[in-house]
Amino acid sequence: MKVTVDAVEVEVEEGTTMLEAARAAGRYVPTLCFDERMAPFGACRVCMVGVEGNDAPLASCTTPCSDGQQIHTDDETARRIATATVELVLSELPAEPEEHTELAEVARALEVGEPRWQGVQHEPKHDARHPYLAFQHELCISCGRCVRACDEVQGAFALTATGRGFHSNVTAGLDSGFTDSTCVTCGACADTCPTDAITEHLLLDLVGDPAKDGGPQ
């Protein structure tokens, strides 16, 4: 079947998502929880697009295309929702994201400014007990990419989402750190993390001495 993305017509197979169609058409759609190695998750709501005939924008990563659809990646409402959502994400972090992170890239692409909604932020909590992998829990935005990488890519099931609502986060094993878990040190979690909440130590070394952060706080 055929769909049109911003006036570019693309031929897609049944079950293709709008995000895949947009990328096939060479259009940019910002994402935070999406990683093409894993099944779409639909959590970040940053990949919103406008679809003709639909009043409200749709999350492109989880919405399958139908034949003849006209998709707009530059839909005004979709962009407004995506931008506001990234703004909310920045408001929960105690520090601005490092420039090289995917979160910072998306914020730049959407030209997100100072968050208009301010309030409590995540408390710093570091875990550097593992020789190679480290958590900076306050940078976690609960996109679920690390948990899914560990499940779907590596099959190690060492990670889980924790808590509920604003207090959601991620941890390894029985909240006992990577070492005391089924982690196989593959690094898939650090590789996919869009905020540096999980990093390989080498990178962390550049920003500070992990030994000083000690164990869990």
């Binding site: 959502t85 609960s142 889980t160 509920r164 609502g165 604003f166 959601s168 029985l174």
Partner: protein
């Protein structure tokens, strides 16, 4: 929802092991908290990874707060809040010497809050163990360790022959098995245009057809959403406890029409009497041959399990409900796949609300035409509504669609106690809009309520009297929204937290900023929780702008343009005592 985790559970299904969540619940019952040993044991028995079990144990209220031998909880639901009972959460905590979430040092007593015990007719309500006490003197009785089970009103129907408040007698199932094919029953339910009673109003027949038409090598399931978490609603509670046979009959009929052999009910743990009532009814039905194999010689097999939840509002959303029923975290999943394609243990699954299924025996016995005739010219069938403690005659009523909200409030409810005036009513739960007194002539029906920013929802009619502080109400609702967000999608996870903070601060609220946040929630959220929580706030902005304390950036917004019944806070202060804002839990 993780495909791999579901496959792990599916592989264990035949072993009949309890879910990880129920093993953790047993641990709390046994020794008051979840330990790492409990988590390891739950992982081993359920076949789930340890990390996954840790995630489950950190999600549910019943698993995260320490429990004493005696656990006391104060209802923080909106009906209890609206009862003008002052700071009853703090007062009871003081009497117990505990703050919400705490346990005494000797491990004897613990204290918490809970969003709705379903005693909205006589709040504020308190739970002490399995006993729920409510209304006048309840706080003192509970504090003194002498709680008495509160009485509950009988349901009343405006119909001579009630549809939902008649005891289930299995005549619908007997009739269907004798004289209707599954396809004919499905057609009848579609023809009856039975709309879901849990909030979304989706046609039940379409859902059934979707599941019926999905091929499955290992069966299908009918799941009942007994997680009536909407504060203010005690309709499903009434049906599950007083009329469980009708619900079970409706499930069996759904199973027959869909081609499912398995039925499951997830009952919320906040209703201690619901699970025993349902289990007893299932046992009776098995003994009478209404459930089991080859029911009444028809060749149709169907049986039912009753499971208990662990405290989470969003588990009332169907994908979260399925996660919880499998013992996993109760977070929402993006659709597709829809439950009808891939639901409980990966099988095609119909998720229906309790009241929805209670309509089915009537349709099976009497047909779609008779069903449509119940509410002439409007949505077919009848609706249960329930009224809160503010009414002179609070209780549960079966009404025809199209009845006006005023008729329900005045003729059935008898107006408010102490001759107070209704300032507004919230219909259908926390995701429903708030109808100001001037719009009470709106008919109770899907489209008519939608036109004024409201919804039928669960059917609760929760009145706020003229003493209610609308800003405090906004804060109360948004606190509920933020606390109960499952945390999956970003707009809801962060947006409801920020909206609550805006309302809880003592300053004026920037209207433009609030409205942009509400739009982000409405259009960005993954499910109806984040999408629906703005509805009552939008109503308050529209009908009570002065009282809400809005600013347009340059100063108070529309200070003299408030809607009818809207007053500035200083005027309100002269009218009577204020409802203190809750900051417990």
């Amino acid at each position: 929802m993780s495909h791999n985790l579901i496959e792990m559970l599916r592989a264990r299904e035949r072993d009949g092991e309890p879910t990880a969540m129920s093993i953790l619940k047993d641990a709390v019952r046994d020794h008051g908290e979840v330990t790492d040993d409990d988590r390891r044991r739950a992982a081993e028995r359920s076949g789930l990874p340890e990390a996954t079990v840790y995630g489950i144990s950190s999600f549910y209220d019943d698993l995260t707060e320490p429990r004493g031998h005696r656990h006391v909880a104060a209802c923080n639901g909106t009906a209890c809040w609206a009862a003008n009972a002052g700071d009853y959460v703090g007062d009871l905590g003081e009497r117990l010497g505990l703050k919400p979430g705490e346990r005494s040092e000797d491990g004897e007593v613990s204290y918490g809050t809970v969003y709705c015990l379903g005693f909205c007719h006589s709040g504020p309500a308190f739970r002490d163990g399995e006993v729920v006490d409510a209304g006048e003197g309840a706080l003192a009785r509970v504090a003194g360790g002498a709680a008495v089970q509160a009485e509950e009103p009988e349901g009343r129907s405006v119909l001579d022959e009630p549809v939902l408040l008649r005891p289930g007698d299995w005549s619908g199932l007997t009739h269907a098995l004798e004289s209707m094919s599954p396809e004919e029953l499905l057609e009848e339910v579609k023809e009856a245009n039975l709309r879901g009673r849990g909030g979304a109003g989706f046609p039940a027949g379409k859902k059934w057809e979707f599941a019926r038409n999905t091929d499955s090598p290992d069966g299908k399931a009918i799941v009942v959403n007994g997680d009536e978490g909407d504060p203010g609603s005690y309709i499903d509670k009434h049906l599950m406890e007083r009329n469980p046979d009708l619900l079970i009959e409706g499930m069996a009929l759904a199973g027959y029409a869909v081609g499912a052999e398995r039925g499951l009910v997830l009952v919320r743990s906040e209703y201690p009497l619901s699970m025993p009532a349902l289990r007893a009814a299932v046992e009776r039905a098995r003994e009478a041959g209404h459930l089991g194999e080859d029911i009444h010689g028809s060749g149709f097999d169907f049986d039912i399990d009753i499971e208990e939840g662990a405290g989470s509002y969003v588990v009332g959303e169907e994908t979260a409900l399925l996660g919880s029923l499998m013992g996993l975290r109760g977070t929402v999943s993006a659709r597709p796949p829809f439950p009808a394609q891939r639901g409980w243990h990966g099988k095609p699954t119909v998720v229906n609300n309790v009241e929805t299924l209670c309509n089915v025996p009537f349709i099976a016995s009497n047909g779609a035409e008779a069903y449509s005739a119940l509410s002439p010219g409007v949505t077919p069938g009848t609706k249960l509504v329930c009224l809160n403690e503010r009414f002179r005659n609070p209780g549960l009523h079966e009404v025809r669609f199209g009845t006006t909200v005023r008729e329900i409030c005045e003729d059935l409810g008898g107006g408010l106690v102490d001759d107070r005036e209704i300032s507004a009513v919230q219909i259908g739960g926390p995701l429903g809009g708030i109808l100001p007194a001037k719009l009470l002539d709106t008919p109770l029906d899907f489209d008519e309520l939608a036109d004024v920013g409201c919804m039928v929802g669960h059917g609760s009619i929760l009145a706020f009297d003229d003493q209610t502080d609308m800003r405090a109400l906004a804060t109360h609702l948004l606190e509920f929204g933020a606390e109960e967000s499952c945390g999956k999608c970003f707009p809801c996870r962060i947006g409801l937290q920020r909206a609550h903070e805006m309302s809880a601060r003592p300053e004026l609220i920037d209207r433009g900023r609030l409205e942009e946040l509400l739009e982000t929630l409405e259009l960005g959220s993954l499910c109806a929780h984040g999408g629906g929580m703005p509805a009552p706030i939008r109503s308050l902005i529209e009908h009570f702008p002065s009282e809400l304390g809005l600013t347009n950036g340059d100063g108070p917004d529309q200070p003299d343009l408030g809607a009818e019944g809207d007053r500035r806070p200083e005027e309100k202060a002269q009218a009577g005592p204020q409802q203190p804002a809750e900051d417990g839990a």
